[in-house]
């Protein structure tokens, strides 16, 4: 089963690489990320699969906003009959050297793949130790928030920096969306009504993921993504850009300071393990608190990324000059 899925996976990726029109890339990319996450699931990596599924919606939105610029913002199409379509002659000769180069590298690569596997010891050690060392029942969360929390710190830092970078690099100099901007997307009443039903489900589900992350797959990152996708649904319902980006950015940075400070007191100085002998409750409190912080952080970060892409990157070009 895994092999079949992997084959589909490579096939859809090849579709992306060899597609000639930019908008098809997005649809193929949707298929690709779906199949990717199922393969992760089949390979026994539920957390990674979930993150990939959550990420794919955001990646799609980023690409859509980019491609919308590319095609220009026209009105809705009337029934267009494109009169003459020029057949594009594919010049295969152009690709032959590149293909030969890549194929040569591929053959070299495949010929020098190492044969030894020596990794079960560390795995067994993790699986044996994590329940008393960190707590919880999910080994991945234990590593993510316990053994390698130092990595997680820098990953959270990268998200903070990415938000700052997106704000700074963007063509639009102000951080906030100018007043009076509305989305031109018109939704039917049915869409709005249904989305209103879906929104609370998403919020509940995000809270469930955060609270339960150390027992089953999920955790802070996924919960944060769920919260962020709540904002997507809100945008679909209301279609206005009224949320304060600047305040959320400040909040994100405050949460980040908390993310750095909590492990300092809990993990780096070893308090958790001193108390752990008395009761495992403290460990669970630490895990849930850390999950909640990471969740808030990720929710803020992805909310800003989404909102900037959907609201600011799509503004008409003359708005920056008026400011």
């Amino acid at each position: 089963m895994t092999q079949v899925l992997l084959f589909f996976w490579v096939f859809s990726a090849a579709c992306i690489v060899f597609s000639r029109k930019a908008y098809r890339v997005i649809i193929y990319f949707g298929v690709f990320s779906l199949i990717t996450s199922v393969v992760y699931l089949a390979l026994g990596a539920p957390d990674v699969a979930m993150s990939e599924a959550g990420i794919s919606a955001f990646a799609t939105i980023f690409f859509i906003v980019c491609i919308e610029q590319y095609y220009g913002r026209g009105e809705g199409l009337k029934s267009e009959a494109i009169a003459s379509r020029r057949k594009i002659r594919v010049t295969f000769m152009k690709f032959v050297p590149a293909f030969l180069f890549t194929a040569g590298l591929f053959l070299l690569f495949v010929n020098s793949v190492p044969t030894g596997y020596a990794f079960t010891e560390l795995r067994d050690q993790y699986l044996r130790m994590f329940m008393q060392d960190v707590g919880g029942e999910n080994a991945v969360t234990a590593i993510y928030l316990g053994y390698r929390v130092y990595d997680t710190l820098f990953e959270a830092l990268l998200l903070v920096i990415a938000v700052v970078a997106v704000t700074h690099v963007s063509w639009f100099s102000s951080e906030e969306v100018p007043d009076g901007q509305h989305s031109e997307i018109e939704n039917s009443r049915m869409t709005k009504f249904t989305m209103r039903i879906i929104c609370p489900i998403i919020l509940l589900f995000g809270a469930y993921l955060i609270m339960n992350g150390h027992f089953t797959a999920g955790g802070g990152f996924l919960g944060g993504l769920a919260f962020a996708s709540f904002f997507i649904c809100r945008y679909l319902v209301l279609g206005i850009y009224d949320l304060p980006i600047k305040k959320v950015m400040k909040m994100e940075e405050l949460v980040f300071i908390n993310i750095t400070i909590l492990p300092i007191f809990a993990v780096f100085t070893g308090v958790v393990y001193l108390v752990a002998d008395v009761t495992p409750l403290f460990q669970n409190i630490y895990l849930v608190a850390m999950s909640a912080l990471v969740g808030m952080k990720v929710a803020c970060g992805f909310f800003i990324l989404f909102y900037r892409h959907i609201a600011i990157e799509r503004l008409p070009a003359d708005i920056d000059k008026k400011e």
Binding site: R20, G76, L77, K78, S79, E80, A81, I82, A83, R85, I88, N187, S188, M190, T191, T194, I197, I198, I201
Partner: protein
């Protein structure tokens, strides 16, 4: 016994989905036909499959969660089809010979 019934129900769901596949590949039909067939039959197939699965697991936590998924799918799947069809209509997509050569 209950296993046999569940298998039969699930097989029924699979059969529905097979019909869906036939529907989306029926020659000479346009997009609106396809989305009508595919959306309806897919939802029904999913429902049938879920019923079979619920029969198999009896009254348990699994079935409860499955029920939640079924509700979400019942809400979302027709909604997506509705949005797709309405947006296609709004954007002025009229299936005709000229538009079909988008495929290349």
């Amino acid at each position: 016994m209950i296993y046999v019934i569940s298998y039969i129900v699930m097989g029924l769901g699979l059969a529905f989905m097979m019909f869906g596949i036939l529907g989306i590949f029926k020659p000479g039909k346009d997009f609106y036909y396809r989305i009508l067939v595919a959306c309806k039959i897919d939802t029904v197939g999913f429902l049938t499959l879920a019923i079979g699965m619920a029969l198999r697991h009896g009254f348990s936590f699994f079935t409860g969660k499955l029920f939640l998924i079924v509700i979400i799918m019942m809400i979302l799947n027709p909604l997506v089809s509705h949005i797709m069809a309405s947006q296609a209509h709004k954007s002025g997509y009229v299936p005709s010979c000229e538009n079909e050569d988008d495929a290349s």
